[in-house]
Amino acid sequence: MPKDEYQSRDFRIVGTRPVRPDGIDKVTGKARYGADMTAPGMLWGAILRSPHAHARIKSIDTSAAEAMKGVKAVITRADFTYQPESASLADVLDNCMAGEKARYDGHAVAAVAATSKSIARAALKAIKVDYGVLPHVTDVDEAMKPDAPVIEAGRVQENVPEGYSENVTGRSQYGHGDPEAGFEKADLVIERHFTTAATHQGYIEPNACLAQLGADGQGEIWVCTQGHYMVRNTCAGVLGLDAGMLRVTASEIGGGFGGKTHVWMEPTALVLSRKAGKPVKLVLSRDEVFRATGPTASSSIDVKIGMKKDGSITGATATYRLQAGAYPGSIAFLSAMCGFAPYDLKHVRTEGYEVMTNRPKAAAYRAPGAPMAAYPVESVIDELCQKLDLDPLETRLKNAAREGTKASYGPTYPAIGLEATLKAAQSHPHWIAPLGENQGRGVACGFWFNFGGDTCVSLMVNPDGTVSLSEGNPDIGGSRASMSMMAAEELGVDLDQVRTVIADTASLGQNEVTDGSRVTFAVGLATIKAARHAIQIMKERAAMTWGIDPEAVDWRDGAAHPAGPNAGKFPPMTIKEIAAIASNTGGPIAGHHEVTAEGAGVSFATHMVDTETDPETGQVKVLRYTVFQDAGKAVHPDYVEGQFQGGAAQGIGWAINEEYIYGEDGRLQNPGFLDYRIPVASDLPMIEPVILEIPNPGHPYGVRGVGETSIVPPLAAIANAVSRSSNVRLTSLPMSPPKVLAAMKGT
């Protein structure tokens, strides 16, 4: 029996690049996403949204809409008759359908279900809402001031000091040593203020669901989500239903990046369905996705770092103020934990403030809190290197956290891969490639935690010896391929003998959301253990057939072999042969594993980028990009590379183009892909992925999560390249052409 922890081994399938099992459906248009499902008698849902950033809802008159032909249900908050006990669920409910007041431009205030999309849209226009407009605040620094309009009183945690408005709901502080004493020892101290804009995950598939809820409390939801168990549990909690009565099936998912780890409108679809007595399909428009599903936080940051002439960092502090949007609970604590995580520091202190504003509730976005944490730190380190004439990679290596380093967030690191990524960067041809006029090269490091969490996997050995694997995490970027590969590897069968499906919530136990880069790690772990469970059963069946002790049976190459004193006495029994007589030897064969996976293993990356700044327009063009990241073990290297490249591209967008722009009226001015510009093909160069494999001791194959870390370094890497290509240090994202031009002209 192989051990649970990592063991070095030669892989047969893991590490190869087979075609993904869901591929043909996705290149032929057959794959069914959230909006692609219909049901007999289905109605179309639509949501009316507040045009005001902050307004009391005095009254809503739905009578004209209800009287329209084809309108089957109109709902407001009054139709959500259950009031959840927990504050977090009450927040979800209020965000899905506003109660006393609309808290942001785009906040849902009513919804309809009708026999056609056009009737549903027309009915929205017939709903009359009487608003009492309130003062609003959309800027994080303004929202902290004692006299700022308060979004919701009474939500301040015990850890917030006095002197702020009630919008500041939480504070966390990390670090050790005495940074002020550290600054005394420095040859140069740089302190700067930074800001980053709110950016949206920008998944191409708008949120969509098809929901049915009967008067008996039984319901079904088909939904694009990163976690259908989360959808089930949240909907049940918000509506006062029994979770077991709700069956949620995850559709194919057209991107999520954290934005689909939350519930935005599924309870609305259920309540519409209950009222109309028919299934309701609810598909958000792109405008709604931008206005009413959570972007990440914008931030206001102060960073101070002291350095000696030899490059050693003597002291460091950072204060992160992140906006949570219209409800409490942001991710500033993660910024406070991640900012200095790559470095070995004697004196470090970070603070994070969670701040409510009149914006949509902020949501997780790929390594939440970490990109805006790394950006100012890596920028100031780079500026120190420039002013002290130090090599930026050598300086980072000099200060790099390694095994035994006390992390800035507290614990002592086990074996980690930061040094390896820095050394790989140093020895890569990119580092010494010549640069032209107006061109510069930037580097930056990034850190992310990675998670495990609740995970269930069932592995069925079918009568013909093929294998069906059920897991409960939506496949957002090729995870069914990885699970099939790990199952086939462990069982010793060919890859085409295993098919992996995403089970619905009634078919498998609780699963944590597809987040925290957890799936290949945690679901992979459970898959391997489910396979080992099935192998144990098959060994027992073979032993019974042979009349020998099960302990005297080995499993290799997809077959049971008599071992020890019985070695060679019987011909091996293959999985097919064992499966064929399963009914005679004790019944169907299935392995399963249920676990709350812990010990995911932290992740580091170093990015290197060349940019060219146009001195006439201020436009920044990315010329060359290389990602160095530790994957533990790359199960399917194509999709590991894809995560590296995709995260880098999102980081490039965050650095150069993307931002939520609010007007004086508190309304979002660019809720569409034309004005909120994510990187397009012609904006980007090839992105070279360099995979390093430093095995994670907490996984049998050494796997480490890879999905999120790649978005952490780009913001600073590009800022550093721009600084070296244009000789200006920008401290505000995005580095859009007007900002860059103004900085270059010194205005």
């Binding site: 043909i24 996403y33 191409i204 194919e252 057209g254 995709g646 591209a649 569409g672 892909f673 093909a681």
Partner: protein, 159 residues
Amino acid sequence: MSQIHVITTINGDETEFLCEAQETLLDVLRDHLDLTGSKEGCGTGDCGACSVIVDGRLVCACLMLAGEAEGRSVETIEGMADGDDLHPLQQKFLEMAALQCGVCTPGILVATKNLLERNPNPTEEEVRYWLAGNLCRCTGYDKIIRAVMDTAADMRGAA
């Protein structure tokens, strides 16, 4: 509401449908004809997920009224493979892992098929600019561009 009667050709088959005057070609493809391979990512022609070919021209189905399809020939992702024979682009996208979530993939395949019909030997820059109207948020485009360049080379070799 009075409906418009439209006769058109979709993926080689003569197709009739009734639609409202304001319905787009994408609405009809997805909601009336069950051709859900074309995706609605924005509804404003910015993302390209609904790319189809109308009389040889690449268009966003969300920007064309369904009534305008009268008498035209429409090609969608569902018509790209010949039975179970995948188009070389579809095959290459699989082999080179040029998709992650896959929701932009139908539009990108339709768009690049149209490109290679016009220009069998595009440069990387030409591919990137041709696809500038097809947003992908997962891949950073790297593997997509490589798959298109590789397919073009294969198709030139086979021609």
